[in-house]
């Protein structure tokens, strides 16, 4: 018998798993992440249960905390919705950061120069529309080049980010500078800021409406169908008579427009001004949100909420228990790793050599007993 050569671990692809089991694995992975994070907290001398409690109470416990958490979640969710159709199409738009900024610039223009001429409602509508169009155009540029000359959209969208952030820096120090030498764009007038509903700027309502709209768009419209077909096979899309280039450009415009709208919401609702960090990494973090939610609009609400809780909770952890912010980032990292990693176990199953041998041994033993 030379069992030695049998591989220690073998992988086998799973058939479809029952839904309940899939969710059990996912929840298990979160628990595992919390457990691992607990060890790290213990290692630096903090009681993990107390720390996790602080994260929860610090982000959801009080009204003010809850509002701040919501404020973090809104742009994440909005932006994840924006990139979902692109990713469904396998168009790797990693330029949401720039599209947010482009939208924020356009909205800010109206906030700075039209605020004295218009009342709040029309002004905000114009700002939102301008933000959406600017974000859309910023996204359309790489899509156009992709459709025409098949340029690489990943690099293109990424580079577009730096350009637009550079533009904001120039505006900060140049034409839009408030007090001379301050390098800061002045605060928007009252009527250019989004009104508050339940203590949070009303951007959350806009984003929640977008969740429903995006779900319908992706699942039930012809556009959604086209996007799904292109994502699966461009050849099949051509075969079905779809104009792939045009659909790409259209989808990217819509994606950029939503990002631009998020830019408007952040500038007008959260910050009340424009600065070069308006996107604040949201364009990248939202990629994680979209993937973790598997491009499902409703799941994105939960995932963006979870990330917001962790971010806000980490702040509280730092102030209350003096846990460095980097530790919270490590815990967030572990959580994301486990959540993404568990998908592997949903798709594959491991077969261990030892297990099989034991089984065989047991079977042989049984036989032997029977023979006896």
């Amino acid at each position: 018998m030379n069992k030695k050569h049998e591989p220690l671990i073998r992988l086998a692809k799973r058939e479809m798993m029952p839904k309940g089991q899939v969710w059990a694995i996912r929840i298990g992975s979160i628990l595992l992440a919390l457990l691992l994070g607990g060890f790290i907290l213990m290692a630096i001398g903090v009681n993990p249960i107390e720390a996790y409690g602080t994260i929860i109470s610090g982000s959801l416990g009080k009204k003010t905390a809850l509002r701040q958490t919501a404020k973090i979640a809104v742009p994440l969710l909005g932006c994840a919705l924006a990139i979902a159709p692109c990713f469904k199409m396998r168009f790797w738009n990693i330029g949401a950061e720039g599209q947010i900024t482009a939208g924020a610039i356009a909205a800010s223009y109206f906030a700075l120069y039209w605020a004295d001429k218009l009342p709040a409602l029309p002004l905000l509508v114009i700002m939102g529309a301008a933000g959406a169009i600017a974000g859309g155009i910023w996204a359309l540029i790489p899509a156009f080049f992709k459709a025409k000359w098949n340029t690489n959209e990943t690099l293109f969208t990424l580079m577009m980010n730096y350009i637009v952030i550079g533009i904001v820096r120039w505006l900060e120090g140049g034409p839009w500078e408030g007090r001379k030498g301050s390098q800061v764009i002045p605060q928007f007038a009252e009527n250019a800021c989004l009104p508050r509903v339940l203590g949070v700027h009303c951007g959350w309502i806009i984003v929640l409406i977008l969740v429903v709209l995006m779900h319908i768009y992706m699942r039930h419209t012809k556009h959604g169908y086209e996007i799904a077909v292109i994502g699966d096979s461009i050849n099949t899309a051509r075969y079905a008579g779809m104009n792939v280039g045009r659909i790409m450009m259209r989808t990217m415009f819509i994606s950029g427009a939503i990002s631009g709208l998020v830019g408007f919401i952040v500038a007008s609702g959260a910050n009340g001004t424009l600065y070069h960090g308006v996107a604040d990494g949201v364009g990248f973090t939202s990629i994680t949100v979209a993937w973790l939610a598997q491009l499902n609009a409703f799941a994105m609400v939960a995932i963006s909420g979870l990330l917001a809780v962790l971010t806000k909770g980490a702040e509280t952890l730092q102030t209350r228990l003096a846990v460095p912010a980097s530790i919270s980032e490590i815990i967030t990292g572990i959580l994301l790793f486990c959540m993404l990693g568990c998908e592997f176990f949903i798709n594959f199953r491991l077969i261990l050599r030892a297990k099989k041998q034991q089984k065989e041994a047991a079977a042989e033993g049984k036989e032997a007993n029977e023979n006896a």
Binding site: P7, T236, Y239
Partner: protein
């Protein structure tokens, strides 16, 4: 000859998830024997052989080589036991020479000496009757030469158990004969050979023993001399099948599609079609024969508007309307005018189907644009999906089950079923029965004949000459992108078509 057991499989079982690909297979093969492994697509032939060559690992059972129990957990292990497999898809480096490809991946201790290698390759060629120049680059080679390189590669590594996975699929009848001669030489040299196939006449011509698999189960092994094609088919299918295609004649065929002087180039600028002219008639099945890659795909894609045509015209004559040129029209316009294509490329899901969607989603590829509403209509496609599901006996748990997870034959049924359902006036199919079991193949042949009798111009690109000769009315033979002949399928012979497949610019036989 003294019989020495080369390889023995005992009770091999392999599962993929809930699918049992091989269920307790027993098989044995002696040195100096050729065994045909016969079975329909999806019966587990390739899976079984992949376990011998170390690509898969069996869940249960044991493998003995030369009477000794072995564990094969990698292709390297397989080579150590002298097992070599020649896959359907060749794995060669195009810019290397034959000899360089042959020694690629060998980790000998010695310094690589190309002269010595070339000499060794030549020696192998001489011994078994291969005809190949070891210094020739792969990109200069024909498909059959590439196959030869793959075989020598395995022999060079000292394999004495050879497994060939459908080796004749890409060969002309003449090349097939040559390959068989070589295989017989190897048999005489004491090698054990397994050939995976589903072509019955090849089984009869070449092998000593036939092992039949059906749906993952081992049915039995018979001596070739003591059996016949009908008996083998019955073993393969499990019940009696008649191997006849009905070929009625349509009363008044009318010209439907006329190509004249059509040429096209691929993305690399290589001429794929060269001055192709023919007329497809409504009410006839026009077969297209040719070695794989002779321009069949490009021809259909040009007609469907998916491939740019560099010169020539494609005139389409609808009922009661003036002919119009399809060149320059978009795929959508061409499709609307009634030209349908059930193109089944090598990669079945690459074109024509959306792998991640279910049958309903795939039916929608045809109808998604219908209506003014911004929402898609799922009801009608779902009805059609259910109809095809039942009519063609597609095996799937539901119409929403992703087609990617269905077996190849079922995927094909979905594709062909959808195209026929669109009631076209020109129906083009390529390899429509590839991967289908015998019963379903005949279902498809009947469907095509039905279409023909309704006056549809059917273009059938096929690989099995026997079927082409039985099914079609006329056969157009392509060779290197040129039409080398158009023959009457009722009067021509396999040899004639085979010759045309290798000869450029043959005369049109009337």
């Amino acid at each position: 000859m003294e019989t020495v057991c080369a390889i023995e499989l005992k009770n091999i079982t392999k599962r993929f998830g809930s699918v049992v690909a091989n269920d307790g297979i027993n098989l044995s093969l002696n040195r100096g024997e050729i065994l045909s492994l016969l079975g329909e697509n999806g019966s587990g032939k390739t899976t079984l052989m992949n376990m011998l060559s170390g690509i898969y690992y069996p869940d249960e059972g044991e493998i003995c080589v030369g009477g000794e129990k072995v564990t094969i957990s990698s292709p390297k292990d397989a080579f150590r036991y002298g097992i070599g497999m020649i896959h359907q898809h060749y794995k060669l480096v195009d810019v290397f020479t034959a000899a360089e490809n042959i020694v690629l991946g060998l980790d000998d201790e010695e310094k690589l000496d190309m002269n010595q290698t070339n000499a060794k390759v030549r020696a192998i060629c001489e011994k078994y009757g291969f005809d190949i120049d070891p210094t020739k680059k792969i990109y200069d080679m024909s498909v059959s030469q590439k196959q030869t390189v793959e075989i020598i590669k395995v022999l060079y590594r000292g394999a004495d158990i050879l497994i060939l996975d459908e080796p004749t699929a890409v060969l002309t009848p003449q090349e097939t004969d040559k390959l068989f001669a070589v295989l017989r030489n190897m048999r005489a040299d004491g090698k054990a050979i397994v050939i995976i196939t589903h072509k019955l006449h090849e089984v009869m011509a070449l092998s000593d023993k036939v092992a039949v698999l059906r749906k993952g189960k081992y049915i039995g092994t018979v001596n070739t001399a003591e059996t016949n094609p009908q008996a083998l088919t019955d073993m393969m299918v499990g019940h009696t099948v008649t191997l006849n295609i009905d070929r009625p004649t349509y009363e008044k065929p009318v010209p439907r599609l006329s190509l004249s002087g059509v040429s096209c180039f691929d993305a690399e600028g290589v001429k794929r079609l060269d001055d192709v002219s023919f007329t497809a008639m409504g009410g006839e099945i026009l077969g297209i024969a040719g070695v794989a890659g002779s321009g069949q795909r490009e021809l259909l894609e040009c007609i469907a508007g998916l491939h740019p045509v560099s010169s020539g015209s494609i005139m389409y004559t609808p009922d009661e309307a003036a002919p119009s040129d399809l060149v320059g029209k978009s795929p959508m316009q061409i499709r609307k005018s009634g030209v349908a294509m059930a193109f089944v490329p090598e990669d079945r899901l690459g074109m024509g189907l959306v792998g991640s969607m279910g049958m309903t989603g795939n039916m929608m590829l045809r109808s998604w644009r219908k209506g003014k509403s911004i929402f898609v209509n799922r009801k009608d496609p779902n009805k059609l999906a259910n109809q095809i599901w039942h009519d063609l006996e597609v095996v799937t748990p539901s119409t929403e089950f992703p087609v990617r997870r269905m077996s190849g034959g079922n995927v094909q049924k979905v594709l062909v079923g959808r195209e026929i359902a669109s009631a076209p006036s020109v129906l083009m199919t390529a390899y429509a029965v590839r991967g289908l079991d015998i019963n379903t193949s005949y279902t498809i042949y009947n469907l095509l004949t039905e279409q023909k009798m309704q006056g549809v111009a059917v273009v059938y690109v096929g690989e099995d000459l026997d079927v082409l000769l039985e099914l079609c009315d006329r056969i157009l033979v392509l060779c290197g992108g040129k039409v080398s002949g158009i023959v009457d399928a009722r009067t021509t012979t396999k040899e004639e078509v085979g010759l045309l497949m290798t000869r450029v610019g043959g005369k049109e036989a009337e």
